[in-house]
Amino acid sequence: MATTSNAASPPGLPADPVPRTRPLARLGLLLTLPALLLVGLALLLPLGLNLATAIRDPELAATLPRSAALLRQWDGAGLPDEAAFAAVADELHTALEDQRIGGLIARLNFERAGMRTLLLRTARATPAAPVSMALPAIDPQWSDPATWRLLRRASLGITPLYLLRAIDLDLTADGTPIAQPAGQGVFLTLFARSFAIAIVVTGLCVLIGYPVAHAIAGLPRAWGRTAMAFVLVPFWISILVRTTAWFILLQHDGPVNAALLALGLIQAPAQLMFTRFAVLLAMVHVLLPFVILPLVGTMRRIDRGLLRAAASLGAPAWRRFAFVYLPLTLPGVGAGALIVFMMAVGFYITPALLGGAGDQMVSATIAGYVNGSLNWGMASSISVWLLLGCGLIVAAAYYLAPIRR
């Protein structure tokens, strides 16, 4: 920038009158407004809402409003008074009659297995006064303070439960976080697997994309355009179509197995489908253009004179590459790798179609909570942790890798 402004007003000539730049600057600011608005509406707002959904806990207060108010006043010691018992019994009964008990049941049963049975059994009954005696007769869990403390916690409106469950932790009856029993948690495994697959895919994409981009950047204009078309055309085809194509190619009696058998490389058809190999293959294929495109752009802008200068100073080919060319292409590598990594981490159609049960990624679980069990708290919590993990990994890569200029 400094050189441009010097060029615009060389010494001896009058500088541009100041007032002319002011409206321009204001116009520039005005032009960035849509972008700022977009960032606000399309990024910060959903992000905030997502975080809010992860901790929101509205079901008990919405389904049993009187009970919720009474439970919030209760000190949590021993058992609550008769009024709370009566309110819970009465409101559960009405909620079942009005067919609106589902959300509360799902919420409480999610925290403690068996709550579904307890709540429905209670809701179907019409206990006589004193209710504090009648409810324990229906189910002894009503004389357990832990049941009441659970209800009290659920009446508060916010809960850490979803965020804890999403990293394999749990809440005790008293509301303190503990680790889930070994073998019950699954999310840490899923996070680790997702990040591992994304990192491997990113690495493979850079390794394969770099020479391709170098070759394309070195071609004459016309040829370069044709080569770019070869990269871009598959890019315009839907991910689903490309994934399904791999499905057909890799299946038991598919062309790949047929070719390998015909060449005598294998004796029986290999298991290619539903493997990690198939997932990586298809993901690299789908994501390769995202690393080639920025790399070609970067490589085309490199001044070839720098390489000739290095050669004239006696640097052999590998030195010219390692100390001149490679550092100059690193911004392109960084941009491409970042895009590929962020996209790979969120993949789930490809692993779902081509991978086995052990190749599923964490976003499939998010989709499952949204489409399957309608548990938005879990879906939001997992995505909060996923976003945080991505942020940490990208930040680490940014500080460790020599990408910064």
Binding site: G102, I105, A113, V186, T189, H252, G254, T365, G368
Partner: protein
């Protein structure tokens, strides 16, 4: 120009216009034949236009419709535990027994929010062109030395855990008693663990036939109706009736449907004997309508009727899955993803 504007006006106005009566089921050959005899039969009889759609049993879709007051499905065929829970959760209307004739169903063929639709089952099957002599029981299915290859089961706890216990030598009558205990659940998961690398999981009912057909899996547990149809069309798939698990699906009306009365009438039509008899000519349907289910002529014609083999199979316990479904499905999801 004017035409374009009119078109846009039409598009904008569409949501306000009452939509067609929409009925949704699990697809496949049953739905192709039900479309002809049940859905369009009702349309012809009443002049009410009926369209149909397919889903994979995702209760969440219905829940989202009801919650957002944007109900685009009217009549849905659901599995029994989903019907019971959806009724409690307010996803389905209570059946209007003044429109639907309650007397025509087999015992247990009706519930607060459901009218018995059709029986369905799953059995083990494989391609005898690839494997001449395969396993004939779930115990043998676990023998991966004698019969190598992938085994395809449904992606979920329901049916899978029963199969695991049957494979472990538990008597069919004991399966649900055992599954209701922690020890029984652990035993089922341990049994699945034993052959986990050889197990694969299907989500849509078409996948067992596709993957056995392509040779990607050696053995699969898939829907009886579809397997029987494939066998009828020339595939060499034996139906192993002793491995059958079966249940009934129910017709339900989605809560808040704008066409509740027409929907109830459709349910009543689809469970009447006459259209079901017509359907039975094309498809081995096993209805919950007593007059058809117990008709000797139809039973003799449709050997693949689930009701014909009820004595061989295991009836999937609705109450058990209503009560334990949440926890076991969650545990299964964690197990399968590990």
């Amino acid at each position: 120009m004017f035409r374009k504007l009119a078109l846009i006006a039409c598009l904008v106005a569409t949501p306000a216009i009452a939509r067609d009566l929409t009925v949704v089921a699990g697809g496949g050959g049953f739905q192709d034949n039900a479309r002809k005899h049940l859905f369009q039969g009702f349309a012809q009889a009443t002049g009410q236009k009926v369209v149909d759609d397919i889903y994979d049993g995702e209760q969440a879709k219905i829940a989202a419709m009801v919650k957002n007051h944007d109900v685009t499905w009217d009549v849905v065929m659901v599995e029994a535990p989903e019907m019971v829970r959806g009724c409690e959760d307010g996803l389905f209307e209570k059946m209007d027994w003044s429109i639907v004739d309650k007397a025509k169903f087999i015992p247990n063929g009706t519930a607060t929010c459901g009218a018995g639709a059709v029986g369905w089952g799953v059995t083990l099957f494989y391609d005898t062109k690839r494997i001449p002599q395969g396993p004939t029981s779930y115990a043998q299915l676990w023998d991966t030395k004698t019969w190598p290859g992938k085994r395809l089961l449904r992606n979920g706890a329901k049916m899978t855990l029963e199969i695991a216990l049957l494979a472990d030598g538990v008597a069919p009558a004991e399966v649900y008693k055992l599954l209701a205990t922690q020890a029984g659940q652990d035993r089922a998961f341990a049994k699945l663990d034993a052959i986990k690398p050889d197990l694969m999981w299907w989500k849509s009912g078409a996948q067992p036939l596709q993957l056995v057909g392509s040779g990607d899996v050696a053995f699969a547990v898939g829907y009886v109706g579809r397997t029987a149809k494939a066998a009828q069309d020339g595939a060499a798939y034996p139906l192993l009736w002793p491995t059958m698990l079966f249940s009934f699906d129910f017709w339900t009306v989605v809560k808040g449907s704008p066409n509740t009365t027409q929907a109830m009438k459709l349910v009543n039509y689809m469970t009447d004997a006459a259209p079901l008899r017509a359907l039975a000519q094309d498809w081995a349907v096993s209805p919950a309508t007593a007059a058809v289910a117990q008709d000797p002529a139809i039973r003799a014609k449709n050997k693949a009727m689930v009701a014909e083999h009820a004595a061989d199979g295991l009836f999937i316990d609705t109450e058990f899955w209503v009560q334990y479904g949440d926890d076991l499905e969650r545990r299964f999801a964690a197990w399968v993803a590990r």
